[in-house]
């Protein structure tokens, strides 16, 4: 390692996390087969930083979120504000980390008013008298752009965007260090989704919290986040500042994702990068080998993450044998500088 991972500034530290699920394990005659979902995932999120995680369905992004939230077992180390799951009480842990999910309707209890839902975390942690809680709830509702009178309403009386605002408010009310937003705007209409993005930005100015923002939409992640990681089949294949990953992608998969986003430019302006060459998979090869148009025999071995950033620049990691293939102005020979992580 040897990077500045031990810095006290880090709100989230994920180190060498692996996760497996077993399938076909039912019945005594069937043999359980372990499938690895997360492969040696490491990342850190700094204080007040918005970190974006992108990838296609099944790449492991929600599994990572669930591991960080402590909802599923994993191997490796995960620490939130210096607290590890294994050594911290579950209740204490929830003061540091909260989540916002995709579908706000299923996240809210239909039989409780918004106020009751938002009071629950305060009650559980014994924070404040009833009056103080009322004040906190009213203030939080205003922070997320709702009128204090919404405390007496039920979820069904609210629109999708308003419900998501309530979920964000309920997540923030304990003043956690880290919010995990898993596809938090994917289910919303375009005009409402952009309101929520603006809301995250405004709250960010007012309050001190970090966020792991998970999405399949690279445009949204680039818009909101300071740093981005791209996942493919359980591996982080690229990680760096939003600008580096979005504007100077090093991994062929990131380039594919970027070129696949339908934009509003005229058709002929668009870079036709969408060449995928499906090959027969090779055991032990790079995870992206069978789709990669640039793959060679060299790729029959698994690549490590390599830092392609120049000296003094923020880290830009790419998991590829040819990490500077697309950026000749980038750096020197592959694998030479910027040690492995």
């Amino acid at each position: 390692m040897g990077k500045n991972h031990a810095s006290t500034q880090d709100i989230l530290r994920v180190e060498h996390v692996n996760n497996y699920y077993t399938k076909g394990g039912l019945g005594i005659l069937k043999k359980a087969e372990a499938n690895q979902v997360l492969h040696d995932v490491s990342l850190t999120i700094g204080n007040d930083e918005f970190f974006g995680l992108v990838g296609e369905s099944g790449c492991g992004k929600s599994t990572l979120a669930n591991a960080i939230l402590g909802l599923i077992p994993f191997e490796g180390t995960i620490e939130v504000a210096g607290h590890a799951h294994k050594t911290t009480d579950r209740k204490e842990f929830t003061r540091h980390i909260q989540a916002v999910f995709q579908d706000p309707l299923s996240a809210l209890n239909p039989r409780r008013t918004i106020g009751e839902t938002m009071r629950e975390p305060l009650m559980a942690h014994g924070i404040g008298s009833r009056q103080e809680q009322d004040r906190k709830i009213a203030k939080m509702l205003e922070t997320v752009g709702l009128d204090a009178s919404y405390a007496d309403r039920y979820p069904k009386e609210l629109s999708g965007g308003q419900r998501q605002r309530v979920c964000i408010g309920a997540a923030l009310i304990l003043e956690p260090d880290l919010i995990i937003a898993d596809e938090a705007i994917s289910a919303l209409d375009v005009s409402v989704g952009s309101q929520i993005l603006n809301l995250f930005n405004t709250i960010d100015v007012e309050r001190d919290f970090s966020m792991l923002f998970i999405s399949h939409n690279l445009n949204v992640v680039y818009y909101l986040c300071d740093r981005i990681a791209v996942m493919y089949k359980g591996y982080i294949v690229e990680q760096g500042t939003a600008d580096a990953v979005y504007n100077h992608p090093g991994h062929p998969y990131t380039r594919l994702l970027l070129s696949a986003i339908p934009d509003m430019q005229e058709e002929n302006d668009r870079e036709k990068e969408l060449l995928e060459k499906f090959k027969a998979p090779v055991a032990g090869a790079c995870a992206y080998y069978h789709r990669c148009p640039y793959a060679s025999d060299h790729c029959h071995k698994k690549p490590d993450l390599v830092n392609i950033a120049g000296r003094g620049e923020p880290e830009h990691l790419v998991r590829c044998w040819m990490p500077t293939l697309f950026d000749p102005a980038g750096v020197k020979e592959p694998g030479m500088e910027g040690g492995k992580v």
Binding site: D189, V190, S191, N198, Y223, A260, M264, L274
Partner: protein, 321 residues
């Protein structure tokens, strides 16, 4: 001017409320689908785009009624035809693909039977012919191992493959028009790109007209020739891709385009549209967008705007256009 395959005139759809009254969900919309074109309908949830498409297929829910208007398919009013005639048309001349292919495919039937079903119903083919046709079509829609796919059940296929199967099923009778209701929304971006390319190829090679519904302006831009923008049951703007995306006139279209995060908007506040999408029960305004419009004038709350022709295909319904 090319011929129109489908002409919708003053179509009005009502939804029965719990108290028995009728709420207007689609309000006097008129448009045409021209031969060989891809026409997009863009709008947010509840704007009536899906109801419109379902009414074209004659598949409206029990509580939704066509109150007024005509749907002319090659001169025949589909709102007035018998159920037998409807069954002749559906799947043969006109077919549909939906957002979630898993819920449209029968989980207990092998792909082969499902793909060949429209042919079996609308023609007389031998078993071998059906097999060959299904096989050819699956190859056509880009399935790697079509023989294996024909033998598979839906749960054994990936989301992208299922949608390709749906497209094969919908096009096996060479329909004149294909309706597509958010067909790529549930797919990953890369799979979405491939499915869009496939639909475009079917359109260009066989001249199948496509009515394509989406909430994503980027997707609309990638596939459509012309676009209708719907808001609260009305068509508020219509035009070619370039009319709508480069020179939008209606404030809703403009707001929608502005609120999408793009490369050059990082670090800036997104100029989002305030308020929320109105629901069917909400009281009707003369201009449905007026309550959220930042340029609304006094007249907008008093009088419904007329639709102005701005360019050959470009129409906008706004007092300011």
């Amino acid at each position: 001017m090319s011929e129109n395959i489908l002409e919708i005139k003053d179509l009005t759809l009502g939804v029965t409320e719990r108290d028995g009254s009728m709420a207007v969900a689609v309000d006097h919309i008129s448009f045409e689908v021209r031969a060989g074109e891809i026409l997009g309908i863009v709008g947010e949830s509840g704007c009536g785009k899906s109801l419109t498409v379902m009414s074209l297929m004659g598949l409206l829910r029990e509580d939704v009624k066509a109150l007024e208007g005509q749907i002319l398919f090659q001169g025949e009013d589909l709102l007035a035809v018998s159920e037998e005639r409807r069954r002749e048309i559906n799947g043969k001349d006109m077919s549909i693909i939906y957002q979630e292919p898993m819920t449209s495919l029968n989980p207990l039937m092998r792909i082969e039977r499902q793909v060949a079903e429209p042919l079996r119903l609308h023609g007389s083919y031998s078993r071998e012919e059906l097999h060959q046709k299904a096989l050819a079509l699956l190859t056509e829609v880009g399935i790697q191992d079509p023989e294996a796919c024909l033998r598979a059940y839906p749960h054994q296929l990936s989301g992208g493959m299922r949608q390709r199967v749906m497209i094969a099923m919908a096009t096996i009778c060479s329909p004149r028009i294909l309706l597509a209701d958010e067909p790529t929304t549930a797919l990953d971006v890369t799979t979405q790109a491939h499915v869009l390319d496939l639909l475009k190829r079917i359109n260009r090679e066989y001249g199948t007209a496509i009515l394509f519904i989406s909430h994503d302006l980027g997707v609309i831009n990638r596939i459509c020739d012309r676009v209708l923008v719907m808001y609260a049951g009305k068509i508020v703007e219509a035009g070619t891709n370039r009319d709508i995306l480069d020179a939008p006139c209606h404030e809703y279209t403009r707001g929608l385009i502005r609120s999408i995060p793009t490369r050059d908007r990082k670090g800036k506040e997104l100029p989002s549209i305030p308020g929320r999408v109105p629901s069917v029960e909400d009281p009707k305004e003369p201009c449905p967008f007026a309550p959220r419009c930042r340029r609304a004038m006094e007249i907008c709350h008093r009088e419904a705007p007329a639709c102005t022709r701005i360019d050959q295909d470009h129409i906008a319904c706004c007092h300011l256009c």
